[in-house]
């Protein structure tokens, strides 16, 4: 019952945040300084008052603002995110054509971070109070603050002199060439994952150290359980719960980082799409990308939160 109540409250929060996000994203196109349509059409000789009026009514900019919002929202809910200013194609098609490289890169980076962070976090917890702790702590801050795009460039520089034949740039779909796909994505995924790895490892270290101070650990120790078994069986299991929650939050960081790292490795993903859209003032495309990515990010966090509540019985109380 308590769980259902919590779920209901969380759903209400979720709805409020999504409505808020939609209002802001809707307002986005109206906040463009000056006449948005004239800006979008540029200083082209073909720009006539009739053409401006046509675009205005196509975008629904001649209606009162709340009607515009309702009309826009019902369009969005029906899967109609508007058309590209330049190509006239639905923006959703352009996004669909670019989303896979970014999604794959993000997931691969997340996986890399989780795989690396668990052993590193355990190692960092075990070095607590010993010589070299400060060095490890400083090292983890280097991981946290290393710019992934710089790391990517360094890796390209080093690898191309060590192994000149390896194709590191660009993107091929996984189904077309699985090996080529992975060899191209492994470097950007690693560069992207490093700050997340450091973040998760540091989190795991502190939750592990906290878990190790609990009563049940003392009990386990008192009854003579080996330290190794205490660490993995009892402390780690409990420490992994907050770890799972922050993995959801990291997804947003990874998406933002992917936009940048895609430029370094010439990956035709959402980053290239949105930067191109900014360069050509393709506002409907920018608007739809921000809306879709933010909503999926909010949903991922909601799902992680619900899973968290389900696996941790203490939350139900």
């Amino acid at each position: 019952m308590l769980f259902l109540n919590r779920l209901r409250r969380r759903l209400f929060d979720l709805a409020l945040v999504i409505i808020g996000v939609s209002v802001l994203v809707f307002a986005f196109i109206r906040m463009i300084p000056g006449d948005a349509v004239a800006i979008m059409l540029g200083s082209n000789a073909e720009v006539t008052p009739e053409r401006i009026a046509a675009v205005r009514s196509r975008l629904g900019l001649d209606l009162p603002i709340h009607e515009q919002y309702i009309a826009w929202l019902s369009d969005v809910l029906a899967g109609n995110f508007g058309v590209s200013i330049w190509t006239g194609r639905p923006v959703i098609e352009e996004i669909a054509a670019h989303v896979w490289p970014t999604l794959q890169l993000t997931l691969l980076a997340l996986l890399t971070a989780i795989v690396l962070a668990i052993p590193l976090g355990i190692l960092m917890a075990r070095i607590r109070g010993r010589r070299g702790e400060a060095l490890v702590q400083a090292g983890s801050v280097v991981g946290l603050t290393i710019p992934p795009f710089w790391l990517g460039i360094l890796m390209i520089l080093v690898l191309s002199s060590v192994a000149p034949g390896v194709q590191m740039l660009g993107y091929v779909p996984f189904l077309q060439d699985p090996l080529g796909n992975l060899t191209r994505l492994i470097l950007p995924a690693f560069a992207l994952s490093l700050p997340i790895t450091a973040n998760l490892a540091r989190l795991l270290r502190s939750t592990l150290l906290e878990a190790l101070q609990q009563d049940y650990i003392r009990t386990a120790r008192a009854k003579g359980m080996p330290a190794r078994r205490i660490l993995y069986r009892h402390a780690l299991r409990n420490a992994l719960i907050p770890f799972v929650t922050s993995v959801g939050i990291m997804a947003g960081y990874l998406l933002g980082g992917a936009i940048v790292i895609e430029q370094v490795f010439a990956i035709p993903g959402l980053g290239r799409l949105i930067l191109g859209a900014i360069a050509e003032r393709n506002y409907p495309l920018i608007q739809a990308t921000i809306l879709l990515v933010t909503c999926s990010f909010v949903l991922v966090n909601f799902i992680v939160d619900v899973i968290y509540a389900m696996i941790d019985p203490r939350i139900q109380g």
């Binding site: 929060d13 409020l16 945040v17 808020g20 996000v21 802001l24 986005f28 906040m31 463009i32 300084p33 702790e133 400060a134 702590q137 400083a138 801050v141 280097v142 946290l144 603050t145 290393i146 710019p147 795009f149 710089w150 460039i153 360094l154 390209i156 520089l157 191309s160 150290l209 101070q213 947003g252 960081y253 998406l255 933002g256 980082g257 936009i259 940048v260 430029q263 370094v264 949105i274 930067l275 859209a277 900014i278 506002y283 920018i286 921000i290 990515v293 933010t294 990010f297 909010v298």
Partner: protein, 292 residues
């Protein structure tokens, strides 16, 4: 790499808690503080210490490696990389520092208002912060820049907006507690105004929390600013910026890697020092960690 600069003795006036408990990791704390002081000096006195004008193009000395004349080499226009890094550091710190300070002002105003008035004000403000917080940082920043156009001021504005909810959330919780404390009730009883209570009684109690967060956010802001200028959305050429140098240097990576390598290293060092400092300061201020 972090041990290259010897940790200078920090000036007593800069340390916030001279008479406080012993620091758990005094070396990290002192080292990061020393690095910040050195970097801040380098940024402030860039016009004095830079060996060349960062915009001066020596066409005959293009893409030259590090030498006695150009310690960190030259870029594709024959500009001195060291001078450009010093000025880039300056603009990077100014943009990020201004942005985080603006976020602090807006966020603390909103967070303290929410905590002090509670009720509807609290609900509306914090919901709005939730909405802003829901956007991935880079995406919201890119959206703001799409509206305002690329440049230094839009970059600072974008980062400021992105970090406002963090300060609002950070300060609301402790402010709720402080607002109920006896000395605030006493202040109200003797007729102090709301603004006086908020800024003279509540805010000073949160200084340590703010200082830690400021330092950590400044570190992230440096990285976001560098990312944005790397994408060509931040400071516009020819004004030097670390992210832009990295992106320009990428085109000459195999011919002359120094511009890209050194400018990226500069970004790392600044972000590293600030993050380490925030971290060490938080450890010092956390009583639970002090016992352990």
């Amino acid at each position: 790499m972090s041990g290259t600069s010897p940790p200078p003795e920090p000036p007593a006036a800069v340390l916030p808690h001279r008479r406080g408990p012993r620091l758990p990791a005094p070396t990290l704390y002192n080292m990061s503080l020393g690095m910040i002081v050195v970097l801040a000096m380098a940024a402030i006195f860039a016009p004095v210490i830079a060996p060349y004008d960062p915009l001066y193009q020596d066409i005959l000395a293009r893409l030259k490696g590090p030498s006695a004349a150009h310690w960190l080499g030259t870029d594709q226009f024959g500009r001195d990389v060291l001078s450009r890094i010093l000025f880039g550091l300056r603009s990077s710190l100014m943009i990020s520092g201004g942005a985080v300070f603006a976020a602090f002002l807006a966020g603390s105003l909103l967070g303290l208002t929410a905590a002090y008035y509670k009720g509807w004000a609290d609900r509306i403000i914090m919901r709005l912060m939730d909405v802003l917080f829901a956007f991935p940082v880079m995406l919201l920043a890119i959206g703001v820049i799409a509206l305002l156009g690329p440049g230094a001021t839009p970059t600072a504005t974008a980062i400021g907006i992105v970090y406002t909810p963090i300060f609002a959330r950070l300060l609301r919780g402790p402010a709720l507690v402080v607002a109920e404390s006896d000395y605030v009730l006493n202040a109200r009883a003797i007729g102090a105004s709301d603004a006086r209570i908020i800024f003279l009684h509540i805010l000073p109690n949160l200084v340590s929390v703010i200082l830690v967060q400021f330092s950590l956010l400044l570190s992230s802001a440096i990285l976001v600013e560098a990312s944005l200028s790397f994408l060509g959305l931040g400071t516009q050429p020819p004004v030097p910026s670390l992210g832009m140098m990295l992106s320009e240097g990428r085109g000459f990576l195999f011919l002359a890697p120094w511009a890209a390598v050194f400018s990226g290293f500069a970004i790392l060092i600044v972000a590293f020092a600030l993050n380490l400092f925030g971290d060490a300061l938080r450890d010092e201020l956390d009583p639970r960690l002090r016992q352990a």
